[in-house]
């Protein structure tokens, strides 16, 4: 057995040496420079970006590749010159993770402060990790309050959470007055923020057992009891689309399918919490381009990367995106265009974004998504005592964060 292992070991060595030769991506000196962007977006978004980037042809050809499990894949191949992409197009919340891993370069390596001055401040601060900016924002999105006009009149739209509850309890909205994905962290953060709480502090300390978080979870229970037990995407959206729920909180990505099913959709600002006077402040996600280190260090691709980034600095891209997918542009200049000004949803999203909290971008947040999800299941579905459950979740989060190092 030992000898066998030795033979294997030797073979591996030989194979590795042979394999190492062709490790970098090859360039055809006469042809165009080819760049690859990984993303996980719907086809409309990708097509819009692709159309803009095609303006760089024939010198630079950019391929947008849809990659499922993008975040996992980047962890695995992020530093492998033969398999890593040049950019990835994703929300800002992974920049902490990847910059700690050393697979990203700050975009300030390519652009200076003046270039970035035109962005809405929220988008730049979302992309900043440990003082460096790792993402060039394109657009952002937050959750919106949506209602079915056939079931909830414009004058019935609740201004406060108590009004919302009264509407749910009155039974006026049909089977369900209001539904949301109540047991997922992303959809619950708004409630915690509405009570002045936070999921995790900026320096990575979980804040699950604070009075604010406990109050938020306890208050929300009465809403959850009037919602269906399942809280996953398909169930909640189908109920709303089929007109069996009067209102929901959902992302802009929901709007096209809802309109397709013939629902007269109304959009409204978030209600505020009676007890605190704060709005339900959902997470916001800033979507943009990130440059990988292996690509930035390649002298041939570096100038091409610069050209791509310059293109994103033009306000027309944000306008095209807003028209295609209803997202809110990250560049202030994009809002000067009539197309954007007249779009009710985009303007509403910009308004909500004033209150919204950018998703934390520290690596520790990955643990919080899981732990908070489990905490919500404990409280909302399993009927555990909130104080007890939050204390457990807090210590679990702390121990998992310790295990990261």
């Amino acid at each position: 057995m030992k000898r066998f292992a030795a033979i294997l070991m030797a073979l591996w060595l030989i194979l590795s040496l042979v394999g190492c030769g062709g490790n970098t991506r090859s360039h055809d000196p006469d042809g165009p420079i080819e760049l690859i962007i990984w993303h996980d977006k719907e086809a409309v978004v990708a097509d819009t970006l692709q159309a803009e980037l095609d303006r760089l042809q024939p010198d630079i050809v950019v391929h947008l590749e849809r990659k499922s499990g993008l975040t996992e894949a980047l962890k695995l191949v992020g530093n492998d010159p033969s398999a890593a992409p040049d950019f990835y197009f994703f929300a800002h919340d992974k920049v902490g993770l990847y910059s700690e891993m050393g697979i990203l370069v700050p975009i300030t390596e390519f652009l200076n402060e003046d270039d970035l001055a035109g962005f809405l401040p929220m988008t730049i601060s979302a992309a900043t990790y440990k003082g460096q900016i790792y993402q060039l924002p394109i657009y952002f999105e937050t959750l919106l309050f949506m209602y079915n006009r056939a079931l909830m009149g414009d004058d019935e739209v609740p201004g406060t959470t108590e009004e919302l509850y009264a509407f749910m309890a009155s039974g006026a909205g049909g089977r369900y007055g209001f539904i949301e994905q109540h047991s997922t962290a992303y959809f619950s953060a708004g409630w915690i923020h509405g009570f002045g709480g936070m999921i995790i502090s900026e320096d990575g300390v979980p804040l699950l057992d604070t009075p604010e978080t406990i109050a938020a979870l306890e208050y929300r229970l009465k809403f959850v009891r009037r919602m269906p037990g399942e809280s996953e995407y398909a169930t909640v959206n189908t109920l709303f689309r089929e007109g069996r729920a009067a209102a929901t909180i959902g992302g802009p990505w929901l709007v096209p399918t809802v309109r397709e099913s013939g629902i007269d959709l109304g959009l409204a600002p978030m209600p505020f919490v009676d007890a605190t006077g704060l709005y339900l402040a959902p997470f916001s996600g800033v979507q943009g381009l990130h440059v990988l280190r292996v690509a930035a260090e390649d002298p041939i691709r570096r100038p091409a990367i610069y050209e791509v980034l310059r293109l994103v600095l033009e306000p027309t891209l944000g306008v095209a995106m807003a028209q295609a997918s209803g997202s809110a542009p990250a560049l202030a200049a994009s809002y000067e265009f009539e197309e954007v000004k007249n779009d009710e949803m985009v303007m509403l999203m910009r308004e909500i974004a004033e209150e919204a909290v950018p998703m934390p971008n520290i690596p520790e947040m990955d643990i919080m998504w899981l732990v908070v999800g489990d905490l919500l299941v404990d409280v909302n579905m399993r009927g555990r005592d909130v104080t007890e459950a939050t204390a457990d979740a807090q210590s679990r989060a702390e121990s998992l964060i310790r295990a990261m190092r």
């Binding site: 962890k75 530093n79 700690e100 994905q181 997922t184 399942e230 189908t238 999800g373 295990a403």
Partner: protein, 298 residues
């Protein structure tokens, strides 16, 4: 070169290619996982990791608290119940399929094999959304039509465990029925004739004749299934634990537990240590199984 040496050499030459592939794809990754488990490879030392000894194992044992023990218990229960049900149901079905004058048995067998041919995750998602969903699932639509309240199949631990088991049986039974069917067909029919003359009942025939006769035949397949059941991940994970689609039940097998408590930390040294501990557990489990089956077979 003498003949003996030559034959040993050719024997090794014959197995070597297969072992090489297995080495590259299975053995080496396991060994390398063992190596990583001794380092501090995590996102903060992605390129600068170094060997830190057994610290990860100590941390892993620290995280493997009561949660892990109950997951281990669930896994053992899961394996045991699934195996018992599989064997019993498959035996009964195969026996019925082998009743002498039954016509259309080929048709029945063919239909019963269908679940095997679909990709597993597709079937599981079909079950979750099509059958068990409390709002739209077929089961609840039928219940409602009969005037019952809808049931949330995946919400409580016990009913989610049973639902997962139903799905797992649905996925695994076709293979087992086929194995049993084949084994039954290989049993010499003349035994039964003489037993019948002695006035033995069906039950005595089954326990005294059939089961001892088919035991060595089905043993390899049963052992393979035993391990597949033990390391089953998809069914419980996709039915109840998918992020964003938790159903309320809180059941863990050792694999889902390791997945959620180690792999989420992005600390590969730590999660590799967890993986190695699971591997040692599996070795212990297989040693136990091996001794028992050897006894059973011989």
């Amino acid at each position: 070169m003498n003949k003996r040496k030559y034959s040993v050499l050719s024997a090794w030459l014959c197995v070597l290619p297969a072992l090489l592939f297995i080495g590259v794809a299975v053995l080496f990754p396991i060994l390398y996982t063992g190596y990583i488990s001794l380092t501090n490879m995590n996102i903060f030392n992605w390129f600068t990791f170094q060997i830190i000894g057994f610290r990860n194992y100590i941390n892993a044992l620290f995280v493997f608290d009561s949660g892990f023990l109950s997951a281990l218990g669930t896994t053992v229960l899961w394996t045991a119940l699934n195996m018992v049900f599989q064997l019993v149901i498959a035996f009964v079905m195969a026996s019925l399929l082998n009743i002498k004058k039954l016509r259309f048995r080929k048709l029945y067998k063919t239909l019963l094999m269908f679940p095997w041919a679909m990709p597993g995750y597709v079937s599981i998602l079909l079950w979750r959304n099509g059958m068990f969903n409390s709002q739209f699932g077929l089961l609840n639509q039928w219940l409602e039509r009969l005037g019952h309240e809808p049931v949330r199949w995946l919400a409580s631990d016990v009913s989610a465990f049973l639902s997962s088991m139903v799905v797992n049986l649905w996925l695994a039974l076709p293979f087992m029925i086929m194995i049993m069917d084949g084994a039954l067909q290989s049993v010499d029919k003349s035994y039964y004739e003489s037993a019948k003359l002695d006035g033995a009942s069906w039950f005595t025939c089954a326990t005294k004749l059939t089961i001892p006769a088919i035991r060595p035949i089905i043993a390899p397949a049963v052992i393979i299934t035993l391990f597949t059941t033990f390391k089953q991940f998809d069914v419980i994970f996709l039915l109840t634990r998918q992020p964003g689609a938790r159903t309320g039940a809180n059941i863990h097998t050792v694999l889902t537990f390791a997945h959620e408590n180690a792999f989420v930390t992005h600390n590969y040294g730590f999660s590799s240590a967890v993986a190695m501990i699971l591997f040692f557990l599996l070795i212990a489990f297989s040693l136990a199984v091996n001794i028992r089956t050897r006894r059973a077979v011989r």
